[in-house]
Subunit: 473 residues, 2 copies
């Protein structure tokens, strides 16, 4: 893309507008928008004016909001009107939502009265609701029309409709009756009644205030390309299309990933986000978790004092050196469980009622995993004894305290097993409980699990050591 | 769902098949399939036989492969043939791919010769390729046909086509010429030529061997509901539809999340996966990372020996108690960067050429974040001094070594700052480099970053302490 940007720049500088137009019209809106992002901002207005009307509007929709704002500011009133008239209502609303107040005023002033009214209505729905993501451009048929009537209506009004692949059938009071696919229409005889043709059972619809993620999941689950949106009285007010649903699903996946990595989610692509904004999204959790680590510090302090009374210093040092391994393994084991569960919740596969099944499953996994890790760790520690620690456990007069080392190895291995057990348990229950009490599973469970597992694994290690390892070794 | 399952079970037991059928036909295929998963397996064949032919096939597609296998084994040959005849080819291929060899043989034997040939051809494409995900059922038109011819053809053949919302136009040698939407057809006069109506520039297509994730991203990027798939000679061989693209995108997001959490990805939902299989997907990384922690152990051992010569024991203990905080903060900072970059790569927002920009951005973020964390940590340590450590730094004869404590606090704060700096750098470069040399960014960067950051942060802490803190404190 970089080399295309260079070529385009030099064409603009040498004012070869004819050639530029020929290149641009062979491109897709999404690709032109991506190209625009690579160019100097002052070139955009000139290039944009070269685009044919429809392609211009499509490109405009695909652009980042910074560039849109820049273009709008450079538009004459008539240019602005031309672009707005070409936009689908839901795209227009998305753009208006991102613009500063003075630009919004200009946009609304240039939109024709009907469009203005629609935009204002759609702006009232809360962010992240089906209402804010729907479009009001769809084909509406009545049950008492014939297929011929319907096709005539579509011919007359259908050009501007965002999707006419599915037509919605409403009663006289505009309540939803059913739907009929365009394929069904085209395959039917002209005199058949729409009411007889329409699918009226199993009509999947959503409410204006439904959460957009739920709506997107439904489109995906039922393999739909559009879904009707109804108000409180079951009156059809809009449709949600699959292309917007994909965007929502992708955004939600990104948000979950960010939350699990202790980042406050942002809705802009990384390269478009400023350094300070990225910093602001990352620093709170870094600070909170750093300060939370005070608990591990206090635990270590407390027990190293105890151990300095009971153990020789090389024993304390050995136990302390195991801490990172223990904490990391615990963190990894907990994360594996929590991440699996959080994703399962997001995909609608795991619900609160599954909690006992999940706990039982993780319990069995942690038995297997804990045992494996304990055995591997024991083997590793015995190997380390043969190579390194042998001397520490031999007194100057030649007595070898092999049993003591064995007890330490056993202690660490048991602590490891318990830690894995506990980490998996916390990792699988915390997200489900968080969801149940109305918190975000990814936020609650992701960042906190490590801290909780850290502290408990230390308590287990030191507690066991003080119990099992012989005093004054 | 649980209560519906109970109700259905009791209806089956009391053999109220009429009522059952009445309930089932009001439900969607996806919901029936979900219900089936909650029932006892031996009830499935009886329930399945109650479904009308088309709904039965749709439900069959939505079911888990275990249940599909169970049903197929219970089918008579003619029942099996009926279901297969109703399936779209791409769904049939998906099912065949999951079945054991003897079941595959039965399916192929019951399929009619044309279907069998198609299934066998599609099975040849590699997993995860566009070819394996496409369907061969689409509407194909010729440029020299009129709209009337086209509509007649669609009426004659369109019933079974997976999507007739977009018709593809091919030349006599079946190379792709362009496409025409059904909306365009229906809005046009009957005598217009398809060749004049078809969109022939900007026809987005993919090749049979293209990666399915790339193809799904393209459908999302260009807001398509279907995309043509061509072979090496640009001949149309199939189409990929948006519902399959959504599934691929969701699967890939799940896989990325799993890989970042050190899990080998599996393609089954959590609740459907056996304990042993989950264990096998999780244990390798747990073991590898546990054994890799041997490096942190060696570093701590080495330096605690050095420190026991140079520092009084409570200084060593203080520094050791800081380790979990330092390692966790480093791990969190690195993860924030790596996870953002990995998701950016997956969404196609970040490429290798962006590496310098990414590094520069993370460099500035880490300056801000490192400085903030260092200041907060310094404040926290001074507070701890006032509360707890004051006594340790006062000799029995009353002399207070406040300067020494100050130097330790400075050491830990600088180490923290350096660790964040390094963690962000590794976190942002490792995924991009991994991608460049052909490794999976999520696998390479996710699990390893913690281990790398652990070791380096310890080296920084101990190195600084030995340099800055006065000897024999």
């Amino acid at each position: 893309m970089a080399s295309l940007a260079t070529a385009i720049t030099s064409l603009i500088e040498s004012k070869k507008y004819g050639t530029l137009r020929d290149i641009l019209v062979t491109m897709n809106a999404a690709d032109i928008a991506a190209l625009f992002e690579d160019l100097e901002p002052e070139m955009l207005p000139r290039l944009f004016r070269l685009l044919p009307k429809e392609l211009a509007a499509d490109t405009f929709v695909e652009m980042e909001s910074d560039s849109q704002e820049l273009l709008i500011k450079g538009f004459s009133d008539s240019e602005l009107k031309e672009v707005i008239d070409e936009l689908y209502i839901d795209d227009a609303v998305d753009i208006v939502e991102e613009m500063p107040a003075n630009v919004v005023k200009r946009i609304l002033a240039q939109a024709d009265p009907d469009t203005r009214k629609l935009i204002n209505e759609l702006l009232k729905y809360p962010d992240d609701s089906a209402g804010s993501m729907m479009t009001t451009e769809y084909v509406e048929l009545r049950p008492n029309w014939t297929v011929e009537d319907a096709i005539k209506t579509i011919r007359r009004t259908g050009i501007d409709k965002e999707t006419i692949n599915i037509c919605y059938v409403t009663r006289a009071d505009r309540t939803l009756y059913g739907y009929v696919t365009i394929r069904r229409l085209i395959l039917s005889q002209p005199d058949v009644l729409i009411g007889d043709l329409a699918e009226t059972t199993n009509v999947i619809s959503c409410k204006t205030l439904d959460d957009q993620e739920t709506v997107a999941q439904m489109l995906s689950k039922y393999d739909l390309i559009a879904m009707p949106v109804v108000d409180g009285e079951n009156r059809l007010v809009g449709i949600v299309t699959v292309d917007d649903a994909i965007d929502v699903l992708q955004e939600e996946a990104t948000e979950d990933i960010e939350k699990m990595a202790a980042i406050t989610p942002s809705d802009k692509p990384y390269l478009k986000t400023g350094v300070f904004s990225l910093y602001i999204h990352r620093i709170p959790w870094l600070c909170i978790l750093m300060v939370a680590a005070i608990f591990t510090e206090l635990v270590i302090n407390h027990f190293s004092n105890l151990m300095s009374v009971q153990f020789q210093s090389f024993i304390s040092a050995m136990l302390l050196a195991c801490i990172p391994m223990l904490m990391d393994t615990g963190g990894n084991a907990g994360n594996q469980a929590s991440v699996t569960i959080i994703r399962g919740i997001s995909l609608g596969e795991i619900e609160f009622k599954d909690l006992p099944r999940v706990i039982f499953k993780e319990w069995r996994i942690s038995l297997l995993a804990g045992a494996t890790l304990a055995v591997v760790n024991f083997g590793k520690m015995m190997l380390m004894y043969a190579i390194t620690y042998h001397n520490s456990f031999t007194t100057p007069d030649g007595v070898t305290h092999f049993t003591s080392y064995l007890l330490i190895a056993v202690t660490v291995s048991i602590a490891l097993c318990c830690t894995v057990f506990l980490a998996k348990f916390i990792g699988c229950t915390l997200p489900i409980l968080a969801k149940k009490i109305g918190f975000d599973p990814a936020v609650m469970a992701g960042p906190f699990i490590t801290t909780i597992v850290d502290v408990t694994s230390l308590l287990i290690l030191f507690g066991l050591a003080l119990m099992l390892v012989p005093k004054m070794m």
